[in-house]
Amino acid sequence: MPDRNKVAFYGTGGEKLTFNELYGYARSCGSYLLAKGIKKQPVAVFMQKSPAMIAAFFGCVYAGCYYIPLDAEMPAFRIRLILEAVNPALIICDEATVGLVSEWGFSCPVANANDTFACSVDEAALSAVRDGAIDTDPLYVVFTSGSTGIPKGVVATHRSVIDYIENLSVVLGVTEDTVFGNQSPLYLDACLKEVYTTIKFGSCAYLIPQSLFMFPVKLIEYINENKINTICWVASALSLVAGLGALKSAVPKTLHTIAFGSEVFPVRHFNIWRELLPDTRFIHLYGPTEATGMSCFCEITRTYTEDESIPIGRPFQNTEIILLDDNDSLAKDGEPGEICIRGTCLSPGYFGDVEKTSKAFVQNPLSAFPDLIYRTGDLGRRGPDGELYYISRRDHQIKHMGHRIELAEIEYVANTCPDIGLACAVFDNASSKIVLYYVTGRQGDGSSVLSGNNKNSQHSKSKTEEPSPCLKAYLKANLPRYMLPQVVIELDEMPQTPGGKIDRVSLLGKYMDEKEKKNNERFT
């Protein structure tokens, strides 16, 4: 058993939280909620990323509630959408966020986290909650990008998280001596990897300051100083460290386990890491939020060539992956199929959205008995080596800087901007840029088009002017940072397919052509 006075979580500003303090704060917070009559209800935790935020999560759990993690960095617009969707019984805030809630005029009751941590513990009330707990109760709801423009709340249950943590920790080899370096925000299920393993094994986790990811040499120094030995990062964070050349000047000496996932890791960057740290374990993780954390893993024991892709491997214990072809039959070996997931890891579905839930969580067509699978929308195939490989998405969802984004959500927000007639977002995979095309006013009425300019018969001609600063500012105010388009281009007309839909393929092609043209100009 680890020492109760061992530090469980180290904060970004040097603050520390021991297991004993965590236990005390969480039970006090739980007692506070129960005293207010809040039990088995959603509670929003809107705080800066900190050990205290984790204590508040567990406070909700002690009260038999489920938590909705919100981050001080999220734009008000998104927070409002989430709060409207869940209508929490209470919002737990800290000093930094309590003012924002009243400024934005949210009507939910608010509590300061420190007040909840100071509440006296009601043993009887806490144990009554524990006696009545069932493992299919929700534990949290995290919100991911939604294709209708409204974020989707994915519910996780106690048992889906327990199942995940048990199987993940075997793969990672977590022990009491594990020192995690957490990169993921606490409002994503990605943080389960550090938070719940730390609780289960008495290990510890450093919440790495976000700003260090801009300054990778400093990041490596931070890892070494704190003897961090295990990291589970989005691939783009590892890619950034290698891509900026940081590994040439600094070596992370203490890392023995590196897990990465959430997006494709460019082989070139992976090889730099592996060649530098030949004795370190590298584990590729794959999985959607709807199956709680990660679902598949692959220990990578060799370098790869540029034309190979790194496999996603095989499912965790107690999870099954089925590849279904277009006819809902098992895809043949080597043939592409939609990655479908079975097991205890499955989320019960989307918060307050039966329709979306029933589309994604469906009857397994291969079973004659009631048996749910989650259709990920990812295409995969089984390689000759028996490992699973990710191919692509079936829809307009993208992965950008480790975040899952529906391009439609960006379009939805852009379309609500007063000056915008129609917007379409495309993703340039090669340079990892989100490109937003838009027309002003109502499409086709020509009201915003440069006057006196002969309309070209060729549609979707670019204007030369800079995009409206008001649109950029609007997007900044209403979208999370990682969803902001890097390139915003105004068009005279939005190209359409014969069926009348926006012609995304031609837009992306157009962007590629112009990028190439620009490059050529630059070098001649």
């Binding site: 700003s211 801009m214 600063p469």
Partner: protein, 76 residues
Amino acid sequence: MSVLLEILQEMHDDVDFETHTTLIDDNVIDSFDIITLIAEVDDRIGVTIPADELIPENFNSYTAINALIKRLEDEE
């Protein structure tokens, strides 16, 4: 307008880079911007910013980034 200023304005046209001195401290520039900036400076100015120079002090203002680029140019 200098090429560097152009690059910065393309990333954030709502920021007054000539007067802003807390680009990093106030999270005006994030890690994605740093990557873009490094790639563009390499491309358009022909200066490679090595990892050792990636420290907050070098990126907090337009003047600081400009000084870094000038220094790297002189060292070449």
